[in-house]
């Protein structure tokens, strides 16, 4: 992640704050030139819905369900676990999650990059429409469910029915795959794949990678939704 943060970021302690109060603070910070940090998140739901920022934001603590949904232009770090629906409908930007994620991670993402250092639950990247998802751990079943475009990179293992209903996009898996759906087929890794992987991992600041990748593509000939 780039470092355009101010030397003295604005820090807010979320211990005693409600979701509305935190979101109001986030809204106030959208046009700020100073980096913004929220400490001690207490599993709040719906944090940062539809937010946009040009400076780095940071969350520490556990986030609840449907946080940072439809976010735009974010450069954000989350130091903790997150619940279901994290970064759903993401519009642009980059989010780095140090912990684990629940179900439907980056669901229906339009663009942008989400990097998860831990594991993700079921249906990671559901309905993905152009974003990019990197999970350094493993994912649950039905990852890439109904995805239409974009990229999912899984360092660990993938659960059952990988890519169920997928009509586009590419899924790379470094570990084992429990089962793939009929909507995907394994393909040989090509030079374009290597280039794409290298660029994405470079962007995510990830150096260590699996010894080999399996690549899966949709069997749909028409990838338009």
């Amino acid at each position: 992640m780039s470092s355009s943060a101010s030397q003295n970021p604005t820090v807010v302690d979320a211990t005693q704050l409600s979701v509305e109060e935190i979101n109001q603070r986030l809204a106030n910070e959208e046009n700020s030139s100073k980096a913004f940090e929220i400490h001690n998140c207490q599993k709040h739901d719906w944090l940062g819905t539809g937010v946009a920022s040009n400076v780095p934001w940071s969350f520490q603590g556990r986030l609840g369900d449907y946080c940072l949904c439809a976010a735009s232009n974010l450069e954000c770090k989350v130091d903790g676990d997150v619940g279901h629906g994290f970064a759903e409908m993401m519009q642009s930007g980059m989010i780095e999650l140090k912990g684990n994620a629940g179900d439907a991670l980056l669901g229906f993402g339009k663009s942008g990059l989400v990097v998860v250092h831990g594991d993700a639950g079921q249906r990671a990247g559901v309905g993905l429409a152009g974003g990019e998802l990197i999970v350094k751990g493993s994912v649950g079943s039905q990852a890439g469910f109904e995805m239409r475009a974009g990229t999912i990179i899984i360092f660990g293992s993938a659960g059952a029915l990988l890519g169920l209903g997928a009509r586009g996009g590419t899924i790379y898996v470094g570990g084992e795959v429990e089962s793939i759906s009929a909507n995907l087929e394994e393909d040989r890794i090509r030079e374009a794949d290597r280039l794409r992987l290298s660029l994405l991992l470079l962007k995510a600041g990830i150096e260590k990678k699996p010894a080999s990748w399996k690549v899966f593509r949709s069997t749909a000939t028409d990838t338009k939704h």
Partner: protein
């Protein structure tokens, strides 16, 4: 989708006057009184005319409708394009085709007029957002009630305003089974529930088919009772059903429905030069056509252009409306 829409009579909806300015009443007023006894009968004459592809409405139908609107202290509903100019928050519900190619965007969400989550029994998920409405399909078997509720609230927050939220339910079960399957509905922050009757997916000899054919009001009554018990009488219930006649639709409204769709009713009367598409089951045909929108079918299918010459839709509609009105008179 074409609907006969019922709006409480205490709402001032002079639609001609409201073309430039939305109705005075707020959404809160609409929602709070949506199930109030006594409805206002509103039928889109222009929409009907377009549907029938008539240059002008037959005088007898126009006068009949005028009489009915007077009886129900109602006014004239605008065309669908005029409806589009009115924020949906001022209507109990607008059911319009959703653009399937529109992709999610913040701008679209902020200007969305309604959120409708469509629960499907098959294993598919689609998020579709257009400038006019936001619609989400979820498979019933993979979504938890808690997740769904939180997602709805997230979308509400994303819209940055209070907009109606609804669930569209496929009803292919008996009323008793509805209770088991959808009892959690009352836990959601809903403004409306739209019942879809996907009879086309049922085999012709399926026991539920004959049940629905005679008792759609039973399911509505169950739902209405739930919402009343949950202290949520403001939740509007719509029914999309291939009505046998207007009496059936009227009885369903009397049982607690707030509006009914007449697509299925009309489509069942569609002529077809293709026996394979018409088949032997009018219900299946009705839903198949309704699913594609009668309007688009008129534009796209040459055989439906025979509507105006061979099919007395106006007469069917008038009869439907009269039957409907007679039930409402006595309810």
């Amino acid at each position: 989708m074409h609907t006969l829409e019922l709006i409480p009579r205490n709402i001032d909806t002079d639609w001609k006057a409201s073309k430039e300015t939305p109705p005075k009443n707020s959404k809160r007023q609409v929602n709070s009184s949506i199930v109030a006894p006594g409805f206002r009968f509103i039928l889109s004459l222009q929409r009907l005319r377009r549907l029938l592809q008539l240059e002008s409405l037959p005088p007898e139908l126009a006068s009949r409708l005028a009489l009915m609107t007077k009886r129900f202290k109602g006014g004239l509903l605008a065309t669908s394009s005029e409806i589009s100019s009115v924020p949906i928050r001022d209507l109990p519900l607008r059911i319009e085709p959703i653009s399937s190619h529109a992709m999610p965007s913040c701008d679209a969400i902020e200007s969305a007029d309604a959120i409708e989550v469509q629960l499907n029994q098959k294993n598919s998920v689609r998020d579709r957002i257009s400038l006019e409405a936001l619609k989400i399909d979820w498979p019933i078997d993979t979504v938890s009630i808690e997740q769904l509720g939180k997602k709805l609230q997230m979308l509400q927050r994303l819209a940055k305003s209070t907009i109606p939220v609804g669930v569209s339910l496929p009803i292919s079960v008996t009323p008793a089974m509805v209770i088991d399957a959808f009892g959690w509905l009352t836990e959601l922050p809903l403004n409306f529930v739209n019942l879809r009757m996907p009879l086309a997916c049922l085999a012709p000899d399926h026991f539920a088919r004959s049940h629905f054919q005679t008792q759609p009001q039973a399911i509505v009554a169950v739902l209405r009772e739930w919402f009343d018990k949950a202290n949520k009488p403001q939740v509007a219930i719509g029914v999309d059903y291939p009505w046998v006649d207007g009496y059936q639709a009227g009885a369903t409204c009397a049982a607690g429905a707030s509006f009914v769709s007449i697509d299925g009713y009309l489509a069942q009367r569609a002529p077809s030069t293709k026996p394979s598409t018409r088949g032997s089951d009018p219900l299946t045909l009705g839903l198949a056509i309704a699913g594609k929108s009668v309007e688009s079918m008129i534009e796209q299918s040459s055989h439906l252009t025979r509507l105006q010459s061979e099919w007395d839709l106006a007469g069917d509609l008038e009869l439907f409306a009269l039957q409907f009105a007679s039930v409402m008179d006595f309810s």
